[in-house]
């Protein structure tokens, strides 16, 4: 497949995530939209990884495992995402315990 397609698909997914972050007030949904954006990036990384693989194959330069870095990065991103979710959810839970809402409009304490 042309890399362009993946590019535009990833951009579209990412933008949907952005719109979600901008339009929703529920912290958990915003959280999910961020996950969506991460996934868009992941998808693009894998697509590029395969693109590099293809390039290496075409030029026949002997490189060990061309494009594997991209996939490993996806792996690390997933690791980071998992960690982030665990901490983030903990924060949301605590928040809910304190203000009984997950509406981010209540979170304007940054002003002070």
């Amino acid at each position: 497949m042309p890399i362009n397609y993946y590019l535009f698909l990833a951009i579209a997914l990412f933008s949907i995530g952005v719109v979600g972050v901008l339009t929703r007030r529920n912290a958990i949904i915003i959280f999910m939209c961020i996950e969506l954006m991460l996934n868009a990036v992941n998808l693009l990384l894998v697509a590029f990884s395969k693109m590099h693989y293809n390039q290496a194959a075409a030029t026949a330069i002997p490189v060990a495992n061309p494009g594997i870095d991209g996939q490993l990065f996806v792996f690390f991103i997933m690791v980071a995402a998992a960690a982030e979710v665990s901490v983030g959810l903990a924060i949301i839970v605590m928040l809910y315990r304190n203000i009984h809402s997950v509406d981010i409009n209540f979170l304007n304490r940054l002003k002070h």
Binding site: N4, I16, R25, F31, C33, V74, A83
Partner: protein, 166 residues
């Protein structure tokens, strides 16, 4: 059109649709479910790109672990109804518009790149196999890998500390 191309288009449309549903659903439960659908389509893409390991991991971590966690939290907080007050209409419009503008700018900027002629190989190659990845992970990337485990540990401790009732 080859079967893989058809699969690509089907998966792409499904991914976009489900992603849109995540954002637009009023009920958080539905959003979570649509997000799981999105993850599955993305995993489908991984398989098309012959990255089986990532496809599996994606399902296990995201669809399996993270989403379940989210679902639990939502249900725990009893948010499974359309309790969310809508944002101000203008703000919503502004958010959608700026998100759209963002997409447009990106698309416009990238539509004429040199990458246009490049291809991502479908259903070929061995780099996405567990064996290859594992070998690479435990040789070149061993230090980051170990570091990521520390990250996990600290995230776990952090989550426990934050979530602790005080």
């Amino acid at each position: 059109m080859s079967i893989s191309a058809i699969l690509f288009w089907v998966l792409s449309i499904a991914a976009l649709f489900s992603a849109l549903m995540v954002v637009t659903s009023r009920n958080p439960i539905y959003s979570v479910i649509w997000l799981i659908v999105t993850f599955f389509t993305i995993s489908g893409h991984y398989i098309l790109l012959n990255a089986q390991f990532l496809a599996v991991v994606n399902i296990i971590i995201y669809a399996g672990a993270i989403m379940v966690l989210l679902l639990f939290v939502i249900m725990l907080m009893n948010l499974n109804k359309e309790s969310e007050p809508a944002r101000h209409r203008w703000l919503q419009l502004a958010g959608a518009a700026s998100g759209g503008a963002f997409m447009l700018v990106l698309v416009a900027a990238l539509k004429d790149t040199e990458l246009k002629s490049q291809q991502s190989l479908l259903l070929e190659g061995h780099i996405g196999l567990i064996k290859t990845l594992g070998r690479e992970l435990f040789s070149t990337y061993v230090v980051p890998f170990e570091l990521s485990s520390i990250l996990f540990l600290s995230a776990m401790i952090g989550a426990v500390l934050i979530g602790k009732k005080d």
